[in-house]
């Protein structure tokens, strides 16, 4: 059943509903067999992008290319795209088996072939004992697997998934996450995945497209997004807790940055990950004096809420046997390689060379 995946290219995709511009020119592409995730806050246009790509909605402008062929004007049914919907969209009046084979039936695939495909997919997704049940008689995880099975049975070269794990509990989510990833790798299907959960995006994808208000904020590998956020939006979206962004005046800067601040009159933001900073960093490249506002215990780390002298709040993720005491004054520091510099005005990253 390994339908080898096909590539997808999206060029300057735009969608407006009346006067509201939901997508304002989105570009990205996935190579055949790749796993790309659209990540972004609620309402940034992720589902809209999927609807345009699948053909369920028409584009306002832009192009969609599948396997190098333009499909922008084609009907949804002619694009050979599979889709897993956010709430699974299982047909409530059909049994699991009927749900899975519905597409085959519509396309008039021979009965025997239908049954063979059903059997194979049901085994793959461990659904064989459940085939006669109605969707309402299944658990969330089982429904999820039926939705996946329905897409797999059609042997589509590319599958779109709209927050497929959002209704599941944390444990199941991790389980199915790796199942989806395995399907992508084993079967070679191209996957375009949508989520607002960054840990899902970072752990599964080859490439992440981070979206903000209908525009692409950054495209890159999960590591790119984490290690080199291109702008303050990415910096403050990726990471739990996300990167601290401190004003230059709150930080004791090394000479090469300090000279830059005065030379260019640039208003800099200094970004640093909470888990990178360490306490008592007087002799670190960067340091900041601050008071401890409160401490949260998170299991493996303490989240220490700090306040700079000018009152700006930021967070330190402290590993260690015990945490600083609230009310106390500490100095936190970090090295040159761990500092991210952003322009306050444009929000863009400033290369730290």
């Amino acid at each position: 059943m390994s339908a080898p995946g096909i590539s997808l290219e999206v060029r300057n995709l735009r969608k407006s509903w009346g006067a509201v511009d939901v997508l304002k020119g989105v570009d990205f592409d996935i190579h055949a067999g790749g796993f790309l995730t659209l990540l972004g806050p609620s309402g940034c246009g992720k589902s809209t992008a999927l609807k345009l790509i699948s053909g369920l909605e028409s584009v306002t402008a832009g192009q969609i290319l599948l396997d190098g062929q333009e499909v922008t004007g084609k009907a949804a049914s002619d694009r050979n795209i599979g889709m897993v919907f956010q709430n699974y969209a299982l047909f409530p009046h059909m049994s699991v088996a009927e749900n899975i084979t519905y597409g085959l039936k519509v396309r008039k695939v021979a009965k025997a072939t239908q049954q063979a495909s059903l059997k194979r997919v049901a085994e793959l997704m461990a659904l064989s004992p459940l085939l006669d049940r109605k969707p309402a008689q299944l658990s969330g995880g089982q429904q999820q697997r039926v939705a996946l099975a329905r897409v797999l049975v059609s042997e589509r070269p590319i599958v779109l998934m709209d927050e497929p794990l959002s209704n599941l509990d944390a444990k199941l989510r991790v389980e199915i996450r790796s199942e989806i990833r395995a399907l992508n790798k084993q079967l070679g299907i191209t996957v375009l995945y949508v989520t607002h959960d960054q840990s899902e995006a970072l752990s599964m994808s080859d490439t992440v497209v981070l979206m903000n208000k209908g525009q692409v904020a950054q495209i890159g590998t999960p590591k790119d997004l984490y290690d080199r956020p291109a702008n303050t939006f990415t910096a403050s979206f990726i990471g739990t807790p996300p990167m601290n962004l401190l004003a230059a005046k709150d930080v004791v800067l090394p000479d090469w940055v300090a000279s830059r601040v005065s030379a260019e009159q640039a208003d800099l933001l200094i970004g640093v990950r909470p888990e990178i900073m360490h306490i008592l960093g007087d002799n670190a490249d960067f340091s900041a004096r601050c008071t401890v506002a409160s401490v949260e215990y998170e299991g493996s780390v303490f989240l220490v809420h700090l306040r700079t002298q000018t009152g700006a709040a930021f967070i330190l993720a402290h590993h260690g046997p015990d945490a600083p005491i609230p009310g106390g004054e500490i100095v936190v520091g970090w090295g040159n390689e761990q500092a991210h510099l952003f322009s306050r005005e444009t929000g863009r990253r400033i290369s730290s060379s």
Partner: protein
Amino acid sequence: MNKRLPFGLAMVLLFVPCLLLVAFTHYPALRALLNSFWNNASSRRPSKFVGVENYQTLLEDDRLAQIMLNSTLYALGTIPLAIGLAIGMALLVNARLPGTSLMRLSFFMPTMLPMIAVANIWLFFYAPGIGLASQILGVFGLPPINFLGSTETSLVSMMFVAVWKEAGLFMIFYLAALQAVPENLKDAARLEGASATRIFFNIVLPLLRPTTIFVAVNALINAFRLVDHVIVMTRGGPNNSSALLLYYIYEVTFSQRDFAYGATLTVLMVCLLGVLAAVQFWVLNRKAHYQ
């Protein structure tokens, strides 16, 4: 909100509705049941207990047989048609077309009008010679028909009015049900390559089934309770061709003043409606949900 009602007021609020219920529903029903075992009183002799004699009359009543047939035909003829029409109108109104709210209003209008008004309007439409229906026939060069005045057409003409009036009401139910059909189910079917017609029959129609059951059983009950149209339009005539059960009860009881037999017929109708209501609850509980 947690203030407690004074005990006296609570009792008043409890007893007034109960009293109304007993006075106008339970007591008359019981009274009818009792009356159906007694014969009519006259000036010369008082009413006396006759057992099931009235029920024997009922079984031998040719006129009743005709009327039950009429009622059944009426139900079978109007309900599927009205449901079909209602689904069609609901689909039309639910589509994103210009002017749908106006359409919605015009479809629903017949339902908002009082029965008597509707019947009078149609009385005029059906008037032989001068009525709209006859004039339309005239345009096509067809001879006028006395719609309400002939045994062949009176029942059908009344059924037509019922469909016209009921379909608008049913449409509202179907419209609500259609709007509750999740968009992504249709999207999923579309991606599988299903045509719009196919989506309707495979996805939408099955999801409308609970509504259809609800509407059908209610319509069935209404069909046996209908009386207003009959009184205004045909008075059951000619020759009982358009008489329905409730109208017959009305006639027996208040025109012929045969209270005993009227009571017997009432018991028959209450039993019939009871059975239909029971079927409705049973079917709705068992079949109407996909949970």
